[in-house]
Amino acid sequence: MEKQTEVGSAVRIFYALVTLVVSAVVAFFVYQNVSTPDAKYPFKLGLDLSGGSHLVYEADVTGVDTAEIPELMDVLRLVIERRVNIFGVSEPIVQVESSSVVSGERKERLVVELPGITDVGEAVAEIGRTPLLEFKLVDEQALAAEQVLAGLSSDGGDGVKVTAVGGGEAYTDTGLTGRYLQNAQLQFVGQGGGGLSNEAVVAITWNEEGAALFEKITGENVGKPLAIFLDGELISSPNINERISGGQAVISGGFTPDEARDLAQNLSFGALPLPISLESTQTIGATLGGEILDNGVKAGVAGFILVVAFMVLWYRLPGLVAVAALGTYVVVMLALFQLIPVVLTAAGLAGFILTIGMAVDANVLVFERMKEELREGKTMREAARIGFQRAWSAIRDGNVTSLLSAIVLFWFGTSMVKGFALVFGIGVLVSMLSALLVTRTLLLALPDRGKSDGLLGKLYDSGFGK
């Protein structure tokens, strides 16, 4: 009997150490991601913290078949995404947002987020501009030279500056643009007689003017590639096999069906598939965003210290255990923010700090139960075990309702609300985990004594010492 208990406590202490080590590793992971400049999982800051622009466009879908709307919105997203990429913003977000059922009339929106861009005028102009589909001839020599130059200058760390001398532009305008395109669609053509190896191609139909121009260009440049640019970006460079008359052309280039479909869409919808109008704008300057972030962090640290001070003063040794659990809670949450990743906003930070206050609740429930058991003369360990058992139904019911409200919040969501709901919901789950795993493991690893035993007994007393 005696021996068994000793083995038991060795195992318990081992578990407790494992728990602490795991928490420390998670903490190190979080720290690494913050301190290393090119970390794989940095914190993602929302626009209100990093500064940037948030634009909401409404797409006009009147007269469009409901079934076609999702596809058109997707094309719209692709087109806008390409325009946004021109800014060279690090991580722009372009997403479709359909209004939910509850709001009555169905609205299709496009949300554009541009971190770091605070000149909203420039952004709006760029997004709203008419796109350009261009066909250009390729000077292969100049292109090759350009590539060599690019290679040289990229590893020219020795200070030697390489400048292009002579040589023409790699691409020359042909005057043929998307203005002349009637439509483009995905087709499959058989190669030779083999019916199985169908190749995906894009079939283009020109209007009359375009057909004439196209015939002239292809006639003069047989055997050369013709580059197709959309918004200044090279999307494909098929070879001209022969003079093409009759206003039909086929672009083949070893496309996968998906690639060919995208290209066909890009070509037909060189213009936006749906008219859009700017509905709401939000711009936050980088200084203001930085200040909000600083304040949020300050508040978080202060909140943590206040809660820790309260727990230790009131519950003493178990309080210290709760603090370890709370520390685990904080690092696990931060690690999840980095891994998922959760976009952190001012509201999300406030929500996180709120959950720091709520996270100790499960501990408080258990400790109060433990005190009751101790009063009835049980030993520390027995009291801890029964305390956890008794408190479970309250912890469960309380947390389930909190979780339900988080889910509704998430569903309610504009992006800002969603961020808060996500933080709140994850917080509820992780806090349960930290209380049930960390607190429990650590409490059970503490030496087992009766309440009145000297110093240790005092350490277990609460502030009232009831």
Partner: protein, 326 residues
Amino acid sequence: MKIIQFKEIYLAIGVFVMVASVAVVLIFGLKPGIDFTGGSLMEVSYGVLPDKSTVEASLSALDLGGFSLRESGDAEGRRAYMLRTRDLSEPERVAVEEVMVAAGTDAEVERFTSVGPVIGSELASKAKWAVGAVAGIIVIYIAFAFLGVRWPVGSSVYGAITIISLAHDVLVPTALMALMGHFLGAEVDVLFVMALLAVLGYSVNDTIVIFDRVRENIAKYRHEHKKTVSAPGGIKRDEVTYSFNRPFGQIVGLSVEESLLRSINTSLTTGLALLAVYLFGGEVTKNFALVLLAGVAAGAYSSIFFASPLLVWYAEWKERRSKVSI
């Protein structure tokens, strides 16, 4: 603590607070922000703050309709103006920005927000749905979780009482918001709705913990009596009746006392965290923290001094009516 003994007093206080809150909201009304009404908001900070009337005069030259210009919190020691207008189109925004920047030295546009009226009203209807949905789901969950407790009051009563407490906890911060709107110009924004929803989730937790104790103590002190009775027609069935060895009020009172420290301590730690947000979290989340603090305080009161007394009051009222002794 004689919470159950003086239940009428505590209930009266709770009801008074609720009525007063409703009155405050009705009298002063809530001031909806541009999140809900649509409109624009531009904050411009200056090296040297220009004279307010000059800026207003040059803004009046533009055709903006009504606008309000107020000095706002300083970003990094700089002083700034916050301009509110109807929602602006892109060319209008450019014009306004030019005027604002030209008004003072070293001007910087700190933020600009413009919300169309449609998106605003959509958000408002969404917010109402969300609050309703949370409340509905909570009642259903509680009625379900307390299904085993049929006597002396049914499980739906616990759900109903929780909802009344929730109304109390949401009304108090809403009234605070109405007061702040009237006297300090605070506007109801999305953050406020989020705070209310968080209050819903938090305060129901508080009430549930006490009801959980009641549930446990009912099972502990309840005696079950089973007897087989013959119904007319010769069919026999078991009839189960219960009795307590002490009044129901005492059992609830005991439950409240047992969970009192926990309720207070959890409210305190949550309150401390919110206090930190209020003091250090900056302008953006200040009202958010304050609304939540009010909600947490109201939640602490309602779960200790309102929900449980109401439970006893209802049980006793039911007993008097049916004249069957518990």
